[in-house]
């Protein structure tokens, strides 16, 4: 039996407002596991609970019920988080730092020495094709360039588990292709990857297994090949809703 890198057992999360009134049940009794060495896709429409699930795996938010285990440890454990890299949905970067300083900052958070951080920053800047702008502040970068810096930052600690939240968001087709090639190369090297997307073609290209979420619940899970000839048809059958198409009717009328 394969070793599970991530395990969620009946995890639920309800957000509350300032007065502690429940506002939205983002995740509802979700159970899942990601095995060592696989590329696992968490798919679903916007607001389905993908990012909330990832934040619970990272220990950034606490579930109201259920249990999350990361490398068989609680997600708040420093030892568990030392083994992971994270690329958030939006490229959160300090705008006043240069691209090179940003990578070195995250290298520092991984506990790398100054010399090692500088070396890794040079390698990663080269890998994401930003060597010539390494000394420019990232606040002036385009969305795609910021995405590349964030991707480099997520890899700086040579993680065993890489969590990618919408990794191709904001990238042009060439960069999207490069990121997908990179994911395949990292997976071939034995890295476990958890990725979210609402772009089904991306998931079909890189994932070994996927889980489809809708309104915080799992509606399907399995290997790509097991879910039918077309992932898009399967996805729409599971989460499609005629209410989504009201706008077309409104425009006709």
């Amino acid at each position: 039996m394969s070793e599970n890198v991530i395990e969620l057992n009946s995890v639920s999360k309800t957000f509350r407002d300032f007065w502690l009134r429940p506002t939205v049940a983002a995740v509802d009794a979700l159970s899942m596991s990601v095995r060592k060495g696989e590329v696992f896709g968490l798919l679903g429409p916007n607001g389905s609970g993908k990012s909330t699930t990832i934040k619970m795996i990272l220990g950034l938010i606490s579930p109201n019920a259920g249990e999350v285990r990361l490398f068989s440890m609680p997600p708040q454990s420093s030892a568990a988080r030392a083994k992971l890299g994270y690329l958030p949905e939006l490229s959160y970067l300090h705008p006043f730092l240069t691209a090179s300083e940003t990578i070195r900052y995250y290298a520092g958070l991984c506990g790398l020495s100054r010399r090692e951080a500088k070396r890794r920053a040079g390698e990663l800047m080269e890998m994401v094709g930003l060597s010539d702008v390494a000394n420019r502040a990232v606040g002036g970068f385009s969305k795609g360039m910021a995405r590349r810096v964030a991707l480099a930052a997520s890899l700086v600690g040579k993680p065993q588990l890489l969590i990618l939240d919408e990794p191709t968001s904001g990238l042009d087709p060439v960069s999207t292709k490069e990121v997908k090639t990179l994911i395949k190369a990292l997976a071939a090297g034995g890295m476990t990857i958890l990725t979210t997307s609402h772009l089904l073609a991306d998931a079909e290209d890189v994932c070994d297994r996927v889980m489809i979420l809708n309104r915080g619940k799992c509606v399907a899970e399995g290997a790509i090949g097991e879910l039918g000839a077309s992932l898009e048809d399967f996805f729409l059958a599971k989460v499609g809703d005629v209410r989504d198409f009201k706008l077309a009717g409104f425009l006709k009328g």
Binding site: S78, Y86, Y92, G108, L109, A137
Partner: protein, 293 residues
């Protein structure tokens, strides 16, 4: 230690890269340089006026710099998601909070040292100017050396930063702070008077302790805004304690004509340390409880 250092360094750079920080520095320097010279009556106390203008500028602008700097830094980390990125690494929330507090304290130290240097130059310049005015009988020369030295920092620092930014793309605000630090330190070295520097440093230290307290309180306030009880308690305690810790020592120091005993500095430190520690502990506790979504 490396994680703490990385976060603290980034926080210092962040605060010193803020346009608001430079605006506060230049405003404080302008007050410290111009306020004593613009008084109509001097009464032969020009050096004392220069010293008190510098202390007032540090107390008022330093408090705003400390509170605004760390509050904006923490809120930006939480609202833009950089805290998420940091917390996804093996960094505990306690280390993150304390590192940001330390980084803000370092940024405040840079601000305070620049202001202290300029204030020292103003005091020495006023003494030199007083001698020139006495010998020449021309009272208009009283402030000439002090104003020339003080305004050199206010004008030259942004000018040097603008040139660095124009020709080498160096970050403007950060280089303005570096230039102000270098120019003011050179001015201090030029006028160096160790007994005077030792006397003034006691007063500057007395003001640094409440600033540390303000940074700790503002940090706790920034991470605990959703907990309404904590907000109310923090705000009330901050107001009461800042009055108690800050004003008393400063007022007493000034009333003694600037000769503050070192024992007094130790008392000020002892008075502020428990408050700083309490707010760091409160901040870490609030930060550990909150979701970083």
């Amino acid at each position: 230690m490396r994680r703490w250092f990385a976060i603290a360094k980034a926080t210092t750079l962040e605060i010193l890269s803020e346009p608001l920080s430079l605006l506060l520095l230049l405003s404080a320097l302008t007050l410290a340089v111009l306020a004593p010279a613009l008084h109509y009556h001097q009464f032969g106390e020009s050096t004392r006026m220069a010293r008190e203008a510098g202390l007032s500028a540090l107390f008022t602008f330093g408090t705003v710099f400390a509170v605004a700097g760390i509050f904006r830094s923490f809120r930006r980390e939480l609202e833009t998601g950089t805290a998420q990125m940091a917390m996804a690494h093996s960094v505990s929330r306690g280390v993150f909070f304390f590192a940001k507090f330390s980084g803000a304290l370092a940024a405040y130290a840079v601000f305070a040292v620049i202001l202290a240097n300029v204030s020292f130059v103003m005091v020495c310049g006023a003494a030199v100017g007083g001698e020139i005015a006495r010998r020449s009988g021309d009272i208009a020369r009283l402030w000439a050396p002090a104003l020339a030295a003080g305004l050199a920092v206010v004008v030259l620092a942004p000018a040097v930063a603008a040139a660095l930014n124009r020709f080498w793309r160096v970050r403007f605000v950060l280089s303005a702070f570096a230039a102000a630090f270098s120019i003011s330190s050179a001015g201090m070295a030029w006028f160096m008077d160790f007994p005077l520097a030792a006397r003034l440093s006691g007063a500057w230290l007395v003001l640094a302790f409440p600033a540390a307290f303000h940074i700790a309180a503002a940090s706790a306030f920034a991470v605990g805004m959703r907990q309404s009880f904590a907000v109310a308690a923090t705000a009330l305690t901050m107001t009461l304690s800042s009055c108690a810790v800050g004003n008393y020592y400063l007022a007493d120091f000034l009333s003694k004509g600037g000769a503050v005993p070192w024992m007094y500095v130790a008392e000020a430190l002892l008075a502020s340390l428990p408050a700083v520690a309490a707010f760091v502990v409160l901040g870490v506790h609030l930060f550990e409880r909150r979701d970083i979504a």
